[in-house]
Amino acid sequence: MGCINKNNNIFDDPRKVIASALVELGKINKNITYISCDSSLGASGDPFRKSFPERHFEFGIQEASSMGTAAGMAISGKIPFITAYVPFITYRCFEQIRDDVCKTNLNVNIMGNNCGLSVSSLGPTHVILEDAAVLKALPNITIISPADGPEYKQAILAAAQLNSPVYLRIHRKKTKRLNSEGYKFKIGKGSILREGSDVTVIANSTMVAKSLEAAEILQREKIDAEVINMHTLKPIDSDVILKSSSKTKKVVTVEEHSIVGGLGSSVSDVLIKDNPVKLKMIGIEDKFAIVGQYDELLDYYGLTGPKIASTIGNFLM
């Protein structure tokens, strides 16, 4: 059972949490470096730059070579955190991530800013809904989509400790605090935030809070949902999926990402092998995103608490 902080209404800005976590990390580990692709100010690097100017490197708008440079730093003993908008720090430099970072299995920490529908008004060049699916195929990479402030902080600290590549999916919107400060985050270990017996709901990132909201709505209809925060997409926590699905016999996944190759797909991979129960994937269909305000789009894609509850209710009928 995760350390849920029920009765609060605290919201954290992921970028601010990460900024302070990186400064904290920089103080205790002099090998931490920050590589900005003209992204530091808008992302999470400015406090780090001010605290450790000699370890903050600006590379401008050249993500492909910057990823290779991060690999060069890592192979010579540094622990780089490299950041830019999701499309530029994943697709633009995909081959560098594959060859220079993953094949070498280096401690390069890739921070993809503004994942999911974060920057919904910028249109589909900037709204990337397939990043996790694409990167998931690469050997050696760990993919983390934190759900709240404490988890963002813990994920940053854990990524530096893990001596292999990490892709952190960072959302722009403030996140409701779900976990207490004492929360123990462990890469690759899903966290049960709400126990239930009728259906297992597995979510990540922003959709954890929405799924908890859906679970409360379902409770009123006497549906008892178990909610799992699957912050690590890869490696996926098979144990928690199998244990919970053995109990509930029905699984729903919820993600602010394409249902092609995302969380739903990873959960499906586990279930189909060892416990083939009914599965419903809630996410974004196999399409490029439309443009709109964030909350409007969540509603459009059925990713609000009430709509998730409704979809789950129909699924259980």
Partner: protein
Amino acid sequence: MGKLSKEEVKKLIEKSYELRVNILKMMRFGEAHIGGAYSSIDIMTVLYNKILRHDPKNPKWSDRDRFILSAGHKCMALYVTLADQGYFNEDILWTYNTINTKVQMHPDEKMLAGVEFPTGSLGHGFPVANGIALTAKLDKKNYRVFVMLGDGECAEGSIWEASMSAANHKLDNLIAVVDRNSLQVNGRTSEIMDSSPLEDKFNSFGWEVEIIDGHDFNQIYESLSITPFKSGKPSCIIADTIKCKGLTFGEDKFSFHHWHCEADKINNAIDVVGNVKRKELEKIGLYK
């Protein structure tokens, strides 16, 4: 900086042609990127024998100079050089093109001591070299990072990104050597994608540039040994070379970028290389 003595030049010529023969011996087991290996091997011979501060017995020595082969397909030259230096047993060379070989057609750092970084996809090694050079600066270490590029490779966008950022970050501990053999897999570089004037491009990107004859051991040595050319700036050596230099019937032919030599023709090729070595020594009055 001193000049090489005649005896030193003789030794280097003999070494580079001995290594060329080893490449041919490896090719008993299959085809190889011989053209780039032969155009670059004189430079590598000088680097490993006269320039790099390195210790084959301690390949991870933290103060060693680094050599990154950005044009990874030239790795046959690197393999025979590293084996000759004692980084690994020469017998490994004779496993070329067999299952699970450590001498792959593109180098892998996890397979062989002395290989600093895996390369093969063009345009990757140069930015990596930047990262290592930045680490050296950050750690206040004096080691240098040498990166070898091909002139065909210079069509890659990442080369110019890296070139811009190396100058921006004042990486005077970085030395790029362009093996300008003027050919690439499909033909003459000037016809496929003309990168000329390469020297002006590097210059305008903020580098100090020298052009040398990449088969003249004195020029190679003299240029490499005065790097960095200028404090605060990265150094670029454009080495004009001949693709497949040393195998006369393959010289300056793009079809020898990647060549399959029938097993029964290897000995003939070895003889051809031996004759070229003799002529090279004769040219400077060193053949007896």
